[in-house]
Symmetry: none
Subunit: 202 residues, 4 copies
DNA sequence: TATGAATGAGTCTTCATTCAT
DNA sequence: CATGAATGAAGACTCATTCAT
């Protein structure tokens, strides 16, 4: 492993890109909370403490901002999920950790978000987002595939499992349910349990 | 002398309500496909073959149209689901039927939809929609509760099952998955299977 | 004085025209309170307990309704003013009575109202209203002319006096002033006093 | 190295404010001529040689535009009136000057205007306008109060005089009258005369 | 790098008006 | 006599976007 650090004094990216980053993060948060159309460039600007024109300085248009912001966020989440899945604990408890984190993060259904923004996005935009999104699914798929090989779980379509799992954990906002089950931890536990053993009688 | 006919144009039962109904149905379809903000009153009007002003003749404003349209649709769906669930077949195959119908119907995540429209809706609107929505959950809950009593399934929180089941069946739009698994029927079968036996090894 | 009553059973105007009258009066009240544009045909209809279409049954369009309604009201007011002015008391106390009634009636500046509605009214409409309006001025003018001949007041332009007087009594809405001066009666008294003796020192 | 120029396009003091000012002045003129509802934002924009969106760039909404425009105009008028009243001539001729200017300025009854716009304005808007308005009255009141102390006029309520005077000078639009009396100057003279000596016989 | 000014296109909503019944 | 249905036109307001500085 060689030292890959570029020689010389590194460019001062800090100040400059910090603005871009702030806008991106803020935007992602807003989009994932309120959807695409509901969030105006003005709101993004205000929430980022810059002017509208500044947002345009960094991002060509709203569709692009959306794409970049959401993709970045996905990458961040993917990293986190991979980390959690890498642990050496049994699959069940790794899934539990992922579920728990997911339940706590406030956000809306991703497919729906894309559907809503759909008409405003170009093919390229959609592809870019889809790619970032699939990374999460790929991570899950791999884990499931591996678990199947180890005989840790039943053999079936890993893709199906990945989708089903990520969809099930979408049960958020449903405060009613979470309250009745007694909090995030217990809800996460129940979900994974259900996912693990199904509903068939023993 | 005894002619007591009420003055004015009599309300047309059939024809008139058909317009209102047409608008409502069309609107529901659009909202469930594209979200709240993305659908303009103009679009609703055009798709309903009336003018924008006519839409306003029947519905006070967009928020109200949304509420009424979506609530009605929910009631229709609830009716259909109850019907399917009433059958005397085993629970598994009843769930299969419901899942299959659900997969075919094009629509977006309901919670997300509400979240997006949220800022435009009054408390009353939201309550009205929520009430219609819960009817489906109640129908499912009851079925599960009954099945538990019959020993047909394992004993657990019926509310959790209802939510989980209705969320899982949300795997639509995911054309990729449906294609890979080989069509709606097979996907539905796999989903119910998963829901039924879980992923734990036998 | 001969009996001018038409022979035979009089037409049943009661029920029929009572609706027209109600609409007219209601409309006049609304127009004089809120202006022309601010009052919608819908409001007029609702306040009159009929449907919008009914208003159109009696009045060709909004401009016509406005014209008829306001003219009628003016005629009613003129009648009342003439009655008050006919009394045998001195001019000063007759003016007081008129002022008092005027102060109590809630309404807006007539010229302003006409100016606002102006662009919607045809020449004919405007003429019709102006004529009704002038009757009040004529009544006042005549009184002043007579008073000048009697030496009851100084000799000057009766038209000016009529305008000035009717404008001065326009000090309504100015609740602040009326409160400070101690109610309608005192305000009316002060106004007539001012009009009578001016502000020059004795 | 010491270049501390603030980033971004610097605020243009002259040019920019000229646009805002132009819109405000134009709007005030239109509102005072045609009323609140009759004047559309479109009209204001056209008359100001900008687009509707530009009007909204400077003024949040119609109510705010109205408030700012009318208040500003009032302040300008107040300034002018105070100037005229400051002269060392006798009160009578100072009132004459004010009356004359007022007669020439085209506008509608202020109270009526407020009444008409009333339902669209917030409490704050109304307060803001009222405050600007009262400055004129205060100026007049002070002059009258002073004149009373000097024995230049009879002692009475200065507030009443201020209101009465400003109302009387409202006799404009009444082209008929002005024509009959022979022009603005003569009308102004007659009005002040009437206000000064009243109608009582000598 | 960052921003104030300006705008075209579109959205929701209201309103006067018509017409068949 | 009176009304429910339907509409064209217009109005307030928002928004993504551009541009000169």
């Amino acid at each position: 492993m060689t030292n890959k650090r570029t020689p010389g004094r590194p460019k001062v990216k800090t100040e400059m890109n910090i603005t871009r980053e702030r806008i991106s993060t803020t935007a992602a948060h807003l989009f994932l909370t309120y959807g695409y159309e509901s969030v105006s460039m003005q709101q993004v600007a205000e929430a980022s403490n810059v002017t509208k024109a500044s947002v345009y300085y960094y991002f060509k248009d709203k569709a692009t901002l959306f794409t970049k912001a959401v993709s970045s966020m996905f990458q961040r989440i993917t990293g986190r999920v991979e980390e959690l899945l890498q642990s050496t604990k049994g699959l069940e408890s790794r899934l539990y950790e992922v579920t728990l984190e997911h339940l706590k993060r406030p956000h809306i259904d991703f497919e729906t978000l894309l559907q809503e923004a759909g008409s405003s996005l170009s093919k390229d935009h959609i592809r870019e987002i889809r790619e970032s999104e699939q990374d999460i699914h790929k991570a899950l798929e791999n884990i499931f595939k591996q678990a199947m090989e180890n005989g840790e779980i039943v053999t079936t379509s890993p893709l199906l499992l990945a989708h089903a799992f990520s969809t099930v954990t979408m049960i958020r906002n449903k405060t009613e349910l979470i309250t009745e089950l007694g909090g995030y931890e217990k809800t996460a536990r129940s979900l994974v349990d259900l996912f693990w053993t199904g509903i068939a009688p023993k």
